[in-house]
Symmetry: C2
Subunit: 395 residues, 2 copies
Amino acid sequence: MKKEAGLILSVMIGMAAGSAYAQQALGSKAAVASPEINADKTVTFRLPAKNAKEVLILGDCVADNKWIAPMTMSQDSIWEYTTPRPLDSELYMYNFIVDGVKINDPSNVYMCRDIANVMNIFIVDGNGDNKAPGDRYKVQNVKHGSLHKVWYDSKSMDMQRRMTVYTPAGYEEGTKRYPVFYLLHGMGGDENAWTELGRAAQILDNMIASGEVEPMIVVMTNGNAGLEATPGESSLGFVQPFVNLPEAKASFAEHFPEVVAFIDKNYRTKADKKHRAIAGLSMGGGHSFDISKCNPDMFDYVGLFSAAVRIPQIVGEESDDVLKKQLTTQFSKKPALYYIAIGKDDFLYDMNKEYRKMLDDMGFKYVYRESEDGHIWRNWRMYLTEFLPMLFRNN
Amino acid sequence: MKKEAGLILSVMIGMAAGSAYAQQALGSKAAVASPEINADKTVTFRLPAKNAKEVLILGDCVADNKWIAPMTMSQDSIWEYTTPRPLDSELYMYNFIVDGVKINDPSNVYMCRDIANVMNIFIVDGNGDNKAPGDRYKVQNVKHGSLHKVWYDSKSMDMQRRMTVYTPAGYEEGTKRYPVFYLLHGMGGDENAWTELGRAAQILDNMIASGEVEPMIVVMTNGNAGLEATPGESSLGFVQPFVNLPEAKASFAEHFPEVVAFIDKNYRTKADKKHRAIAGLSMGGGHSFDISKCNPDMFDYVGLFSAAVRIPQIVGEESDDVLKKQLTTQFSKKPALYYIAIGKDDFLYDMNKEYRKMLDDMGFKYVYRESEDGHIWRNWRMYLTEFLPMLFRNN
């Protein structure tokens, strides 16, 4: 099957379709190019909608963080918006709003769900600068690791639960053992979040291939204690995401050692503290904070990305005294890295500042990274690319 | 984290959002229930769109296979359509068309891509009849197998290529060896097709749990010879799916023994003919026809679902004489099952009839299954549920 494939495909779809409308529905290719990344890195969005009165574009690609802008109709009934300035190399998200109805771009099949909202995505690359964010997030022609959607029996939660495991290129064919990085999502996320909006598999493939990051196994759990799996993959069925969450039999943090035991049993791990890292964003940062202090012999590397530290519903309700005792034990074991990152505009900024003050007062060392912006995926992808090269370097 | 999670989530999103609009965008829950499966198994679709002049629903759930129907606006500016009759237990697909623009249902986050078209999906179950199609396709509370997205080096194609591998529940923890079923997609599909629109993981989980199907490894390759992986997961980037397909260095069928070798090397397989099956839909049926006759010692079970047999661009261009010689060799080795299934309205019906006549004339036995309808996923899921119980029963 060579170049004729496209032709054959069209013919087969045409022949296969049951009605004139179905033919078009199944066989349609996008009528316009959208989004189109122009040579100067401005981006043009297009939507054919000749009867619409008003079309808006909504997303983080709209100029100057305004989030929303009107599109204008051209003579041939195609609504257009071009960003007034080139976009930085990055992954962006958007929707259109047509006469008040929020829709996905019908010309762009690439989408990600964030909580209950499905947005189109696209990547602006850095013209081959393989350290530009967009290039880190792209699939490049390098050796790829595998992604495993695996179910484990949780005794403490009395349910099967799903996790995503990344194994680095060469894992299948080799006999080597690897360090393990546990990478946790935020509230409203799930075991798919880091590989979808987080682009973790691409970041790992690209940075392992370039030698910046040690080959490692990365475990992405589902941190919603009452849930088996991401929406649509659990026995709850195709329900609205994150509505009426079932009650859990144990907290996520309490149950976490079961995850580590499952991974050490079923993957070729280096099963000791020196070869384990844990990090997470938002709620997952809270989990990383909590799990690492409650299991001081488990992780040598800890990362808190925009972390929800000390929110009782997420990480338990210990007093300052208990927390200080736990941290004293944890830091007495000299973690190789304790990393805290947050954006200047993050709504959790003050909570993190207060926690850093506690660490400072107690003389505990950590690496601190303060970025622009707030509680957004752009920051979390960036923190991940900065955190990974620090892992497992001295082992 | 217990029931407070939903509340915390809302609060955090509210606090996190950078602007009033972004707050709503990120935190929005569906304003209406759509689709709503009513007690009598009619289904109601809803779309709030107060400025729209005309809203249509397009899909296989529209009554009497009409594919398209108008929705009507209620007093509160919500467009509605209720199917005039109960829907059979099945997985359905649909879009809305708002003033000429085809959109996804913003209240339903569950979607599947079919070629270049993204459609919403939903499942009508059979009220707990675990053999009703919808129940086969649901995630049930049974032991789940794992899905692996794995890359292999293809020497003949000179590229890394991605496949999906299903391992049955218990695979990780055990030491048992399993038979292997190679399950191939159609043109316009890829290594994700059988687990998305095909619901293969759910069908396998449910039918293995009920004892109807032997535990097995199922390998779902990418049959587009020039492509590394599904759109968005290859180094081509976020391009329009199946436009300008790259030229391949070898045909998919020629390269196939590399796949079998990779699987036998890296999974706990029973690596002989008695424990191997191959089947596919449409182009994948053509591939199964071709690969099984060119490798007569490889597969004991062969399934052709709406198969594109004898289309030169798919399966080579052998003469009748060569084909008959190949089939004579294949059938002399007494395959345990040669299964042909097709719908009465399939555009490949006559081609399959002709091929069956050749088999009849030569006295070669096969199992034949003729269904209603044409070249559609509903049939392929059904053929899969009928084919699976026949595999590996006498071993």
